[in-house]
C-alpha cells in the first residue's frame, strides 16, 4: 500500500502529541522496572504511609511501594491490553471483511457465530475457563479477544458492504486479482479510520476488564496490574488515598487511551488522500 511520505505528518499536532505520549509510555514500560527503587513484591514498608521522599507515591495497604507497583503494573497492563485489543481487531477485521465480501453462506455462518458469542455473558465463560486452566494473563487475553471480536466485526461488515460495489474494486477483479488480493489491497485500506478507533476501544475494554476480573477474584493478585491496583485502592475509598494511590493508575490508563486515540485521529487523514483538502 502506497503510504504518503511523512512530509506533512511532522507538522500535525495530533500526531505529535499521540506519538509523544506513546514514546513516553513506551519508555516507562521499557525502563520503568529497571529504574524502580524497590522490589514490587517487597511488603516490608509501613502500610498506608503517605507520599514521602522514600516512597514518591506512598505505600499501599499491603505495605508495597505504590510507585514501583505502578511501573510494573503499567508493563503488564500495556502488554495485556495490546495483546487482547490487537488480536480482537485482527479477528474482527478479517471475519467482518470476509463475511461482507463472500456473502452467501459464509456471511450467514460468521454472523451467527458472532451472535452466539455475543449472547453468552463473557463473565460466565471467564469463570468456566479460569476453573479449567490456570488464568495465565496471555490465555486470558486470548480468551478476551475471542469473546469480544463480534461487535467490531459487525461494524466493519456493515461498512464493507457499502464499499464492496465500488467500481474500482470490480475493475481490480476484472484484471484477474484473486479474492484475497482484493480484500487486502482494496477493501482493508478503505476502512482505515475504523480500525484505529476499534483498536482503542478494545484495548480500553481489555485494560478495564483487568479491574473487573480482580473485582471478581479471577486475577492472580501476585501479578501487578493497574486494574488490580485500582480494585484494591477502591476498598479504602473512605480514607484520603485518592491522590496518591487511586489517581496515578487511573491517570496512566487515560494517558494510554489518549496516545492510541490521538494517533488514530492523526493517521486518519494520511490513509484517505481525499480527506486532505476536504472542506
Amino acid at each position: 500500500m502506497h503510504v504518503d511520505p511523512f512530509g506533512k505528518l511532522q507538522s500535525d499536532p495530533w500526531f505529535l502529541s499521540g506519538l509523544g505520549l506513546a514514546l513516553l509510555l513506551g519508555l516507562a514500560v521499557m525502563l520503568g522496572p529497571l529504574a524502580a527503587p524497590y522490589d514490587p513484591h517487597d511488603m516490608s514498608f509501613v502500610p498506608l504511609a503517605s507520599p514521602s521522599a522514600a516512597h514518591w507515591l506512598g505505600v499501599n495497604d499491603g505495605g508495597m511501594d505504590i510507585f514501583v507497583e505502578l511501573l510494573y503494573g503499567l508493563r503488564n497492563t500495556v502488554a495485556f491490553g495490546m495483546a487482547a485489543g490487537g488480536l480482537a481487531l485482527v479477528l474482527a477485521a478479517l471475519i467482518g471483511m470476509a463475511a461482507a465480501w463472500y456473502g452467501g453462506w459464509a456471511d450467514a455462518v460468521f454472523m451467527r457465530l458472532a451472535d452466539v458469542l455475543l449472547a453468552i455473558p463473557a463473565v460466565m465463560i471467564l469463570i468456566v475457563a479460569a476453573a479449567f486452566f490456570r488464568p495465565v494473563p496471555l490465555s486470558l487475553a486470548l480468551l478476551l479477544a475471542l469473546l469480544t471480536w463480534p461487535s467490531t466485526a459487525k461494524g466493519i461488515r456493515a461498512q464493507a458492504l457499502v464499499v464492496k460495489n465500488r467500481r474500482h474494486i470490480l475493475a481490480s477483479r476484472q484484471m484477474g486479482a484473486s479474492n484475497a488480493r482484493i480484500i487486502i489491497r482494496h477493501l482493508v485500506p478503505e476502512l482505515f479510520p475504523f480500525y484505529l478507533i476499534a483498536f482503542a476501544a478494545k484495548a480500553r475494554m481489555a485494560m478495564f476488564m483487568e479491574a473487573t476480573l480482580a473485582f471478581l477474584g479471577l486475577f492472580d493478585p501476585s501479578r501487578k496490574s493497574l486494574g488490580l491496583m485500582i480494585s484494591f485502592a477502591l476498598k479504602y475509598y473512605y480514607l484520603d488515598i485518592w491522590w496518591n494511590w487511586l489517581l496515578p493508575p487511573v491517570f496512566v490508563l487515560s494517558l494510554l487511551i489518549m496516545a492510541v486515540t490521538f494517533l488514530a485521529v492523526s493517521l486518519e487523514k494520511r490513509f484517505d488522500p481525499r480527506l486532505q483538502e476536504a472542506l
Binding site: 511488603m43 502500610p47 499491603g62 479460569a130 476453573a131 492472580d220
Partner: protein, 521 residues
C-alpha cells in the same frame, strides 16, 4: 391529613424519654437476599438464620452476657431421667393471636424429626411430652451437651395449627408460613432489590418491640449509607471506625468469633506427615499476616481452633513461634536438602506447593485480601516454591471439598459457640459435607475425645475433654488457625437502640450484631 398525623407523631416521639417507640430501624447488608425468613426457606448461612430469628422465637435465647429466657421462662436438666424441662412463658402468643402451648413444642420436635432442619440435629432427642399447658419435658436418648445451645437456643418453635397440615415444607410459601411467635411480623421480601420489611408484633410476651418497623436495605458501601443516615446499623471494616466515630456513630466490636485458617490436604504426602505441618506452622509469621493483610486489625488465633474468648479455651495450648530456621530443620529431617538456589528438594524434585485463595465471605461480605500473597512470601522464605492460584470462591470450595488442593486459605465462624464446632471442623464423621472441615480422622485418641465430649453433660468434665482436644489439634495441626479478624459494626445512637454482639454468637455462633433482644429492652 396524613402529613399532619406524621408531624404529631414525630413531636410525640421526640418528647418521650429514650425508651419510647421509634418509627423504623434500617439495617444495611451488602449481599441483600438471604431467602424467605422461615425454617425451610432461609439460606443456611448466618444472615439467613438471623432474618428468621425476628419472626420465630426459640425456647432459649442469648444476649451479650449469656443465656436469657426466650419462649421458655425457665429450663432445667434432670440427669437421672436424661431430660430437659421447659416452662413456657404464659403470655406467649402466635402472630395470629392464638396462645403458644407445650403442644406446639412437642409438635415442632416431631415435625423436625420428620423434616430435618439443617441447623439442629435431633438424633440425640427421644421425644417430648407436654406436662401441662406450659410445661414440656424433652427426653434424650443419650446425653447431649450442646442441647441448650444447639436445640434449645436454635430450634425455632412452629405453630402446630398451621404446620401440621403441611407435608411439603420447602414448597409451602403461603402467608401463614411466616406466622411465628417472635417480636416482629414478616411483611415483605423484595428479591430483586434484596430488601426485607418487618412490622412490630405489639403484644409479644417480652414486651412491645421498640421499633415500629424493621427494614433491611442492600448497600454496597456501608460507610456512605451510615454517614448519610440512610441506615442505622451496618457491619464495617476496621479502618472505617475512626471516620464514623467522628460522625457521631457508636462502634461495637465482636469477640473473636471468626477464624481465618490455612487448610491442609493431609491425605497427600508430604502434608500427611505431622512434622511437616508443624514446620509450616513455624514458617508462618501470623502477626505479619495480620499487619499486611488486615492492617494490624486482628489477633493471632489459638492453634486449638477454639476462640480465645470461649469459656472452654485452653490457655496452654501449644504455640508455634515464627522460626524459619526450625521449620527448615524439621523439613530437612524429612529428607529434603536445600538446593543451590535455596529451594528445598528431594530426589531432585523441588518442593512445589499450590496455594488456593479466593474472596472469602466474612459476615455476608466478600472481601479481597492479601493473605495469599503474604503466606506465599513467608513459605518461599523457608525454601518452598509456592504457586498462588486465585480462583472464584465457589470454584475454590469445590476443589477443597474434592481434595483437589495442597494448601488453601479459608475461614469460618462458630468458634465462640458450643464446643461441638470442634467436632464439625475436625472429624469427617460430623463435617464430611462442609468445605471448612479438616476431615482429619488419623488421630484415634482425638476422635475418641471428640465422641466423648458430645454426651458429656457435666460442664466441668466436658471442659477438660475440650481442652485436651485443643491440645491434640494444636499438635496434629489438621489445619493451621491463623488469626481472628476484627469484626466491627457501627450504629446511629440517636435512634435510642443499643446494639451489641451476642456472647458466643447468635444461636450456634453467628457473629452478627442483629440480636432481637436489643429491640426488646
Amino acid at each position: 391529613m396524613r402529613k399532619t398525623l406524621m408531624a404529631i407523631w414525630l413531636v410525640l416521639a421526640l418528647s418521650v424519654p429514650a425508651a419510647a417507640q421509634i418509627s423504623e430501624i434500617r439495617i444495611a447488608d451488602t449481599t441483600g437476599d438471604w431467602g424467605y425468613p422461615n425454617a425451610f426457606r432461609h439460606y443456611p448461612r448466618g444472615p439467613g438464620y438471623v432474618r428468621m430469628s425476628w419472626v420465630f422465637d426459640t425456647l432459649v435465647w442469648k444476649d451479650e452476657n449469656g443465656y436469657v429466657p426466650g419462649l421458655a421462662r425457665t429450663w432445667s436438666f434432670y440427669p437421672k431421667i436424661m431430660a430437659f424441662a421447659f416452662e413456657l412463658h404464659p403470655k406467649a402468643k402466635w402472630h395470629d393471636g392464638r396462645a403458644v402451648t407445650a403442644d406446639d413444642v412437642v409438635f415442632t420436635i416431631s415435625y423436625f424429626k420428620k423434616h430435618p432442619y439443617g441447623w439442629i440435629s435431633l438424633d440425640h432427642v427421644d421425644r417430648a411430652e407436654a406436662k401441662g399447658p406450659h410445661q414440656v419435658v424433652i427426653r434424650l436418648t443419650k446425653p447431649y451437651a450442646p442441647f441448650i445451645s444447639d436445640v434449645g437456643g436454635t430450634m425455632p418453635i412452629l405453630p402446630r395449627h398451621i404446620w401440621e397440615k403441611v407435608d411439603q415444607p420447602q414448597a409451602f410459601d403461603a402467608p401463614e408460613a411466616f406466622i411465628g411467635s417472635g417480636p416482629y411480623r414478616f411483611k415483605d421480601f423484595n428479591k430483586a432489590q434484596g430488601t426485607y420489611l418487618y412490622e412490630a408484633f405489639a403484644d409479644h410476651h417480652l414486651g412491645r418491640p421498640r421499633a415500629e418497623r424493621l427494614i433491611y436495605v442492600r448497600s454496597g458501601k456501608p460507610l456512605v449509607s451510615l454517614a448519610t443516615g440512610e441506615v442505622d446499623l451496618a457491619n464495617i471494616q476496621p479502618e472505617m471506625a475512626e471516620p464514623l466515630r467522628q460522625k457521631g456513630m457508636a462502634i461495637i466490636q465482636d469477640e473473636r468469633g471468626w477464624v481465618k485458617k490455612l487448610m491442609i490436604n493431609h491425605k497427600k504426602p508430604p502434608f500427611d506427615d505431622r512434622r511437616f505441618r508443624q514446620a509450616l506452622a513455624h514458617a508462618l509469621n501470623r502477626q505479619e499476616i495480620i499487619d499486611r493483610s488486615q492492617r494490624g486489625f486482628g489477633t493471632p488465633a489459638s492453634y486449638g481452633l477454639l476462640s480465645l474468648d470461649h469459656e472452654m479455651y485452653n490457655p496452654d495450648t501449644p504455640v508455634y513461634a515464627h522460626d524459619p530456621e526450625k521449620a527448615r530443620a524439621l523439613i530437612a529431617g524429612l529428607g529434603y536438602t536445600k538446593g543451590a538456589d535455596g529451594i528445598l528438594q528431594r530426589e531432585g524434585r523441588p518442593l512445589k506447593v499450590e496455594l488456593l485463595s479466593s474472596h472469602i465471605t466474612v459476615g455476608g461480605q466478600s472481601v479481597a485480601d492479601r493473605d495469599g500473597e503474604v503466606i506465599k512470601k513467608q513459605l518461599e522464605a523457608v525454601g518452598l516454591v509456592v504457586d498462588l492460584v486465585n480462583l472464584e470462591q465457589a470454584t475454590t470450595d469445590s476443589k477443597v471439598k474434592n481434595w483437589g488442593f495442597d494448601l488453601a486459605v479459608s475461614g469460618h465462624g462458630g468458634i465462640s459457640g458450643d464446643a461441638r464446632i470442634l467436632n464439625e471442623m475436625i472429624s469427617s464423621q460430623f463435617g464430611a459435607g462442609s468445605v471448612n472441615s479438616a476431615r482429619y480422622d488419623a488421630n484415634l485418641e482425638l476422635a475418641r475425645l471428640l465422641d466423648a465430649q458430645i454426651p458429656e453433660m457435666d460442664v466441668v468434665k466436658r471442659k477438660l475433654l475440650v481442652q485436651r482436644i485443643q491440645v491434640f489439634h494444636a499438635e496434629d495441626l489438621p489445619a493451621i488457625p491463623l488469626y481472628h479478624p476484627q469484626s466491627m459494626a457501627a450504629y446511629n445512637p440517636q435512634k435510642g437502640i443499643q446494639w451489641f454482639f451476642t456472647r458466643g454468637g447468635i444461636s450456634k455462633g453467628v457473629p452478627i450484631p442483629q440480636n432481637k433482644m436489643a429491640l426488646l429492652r
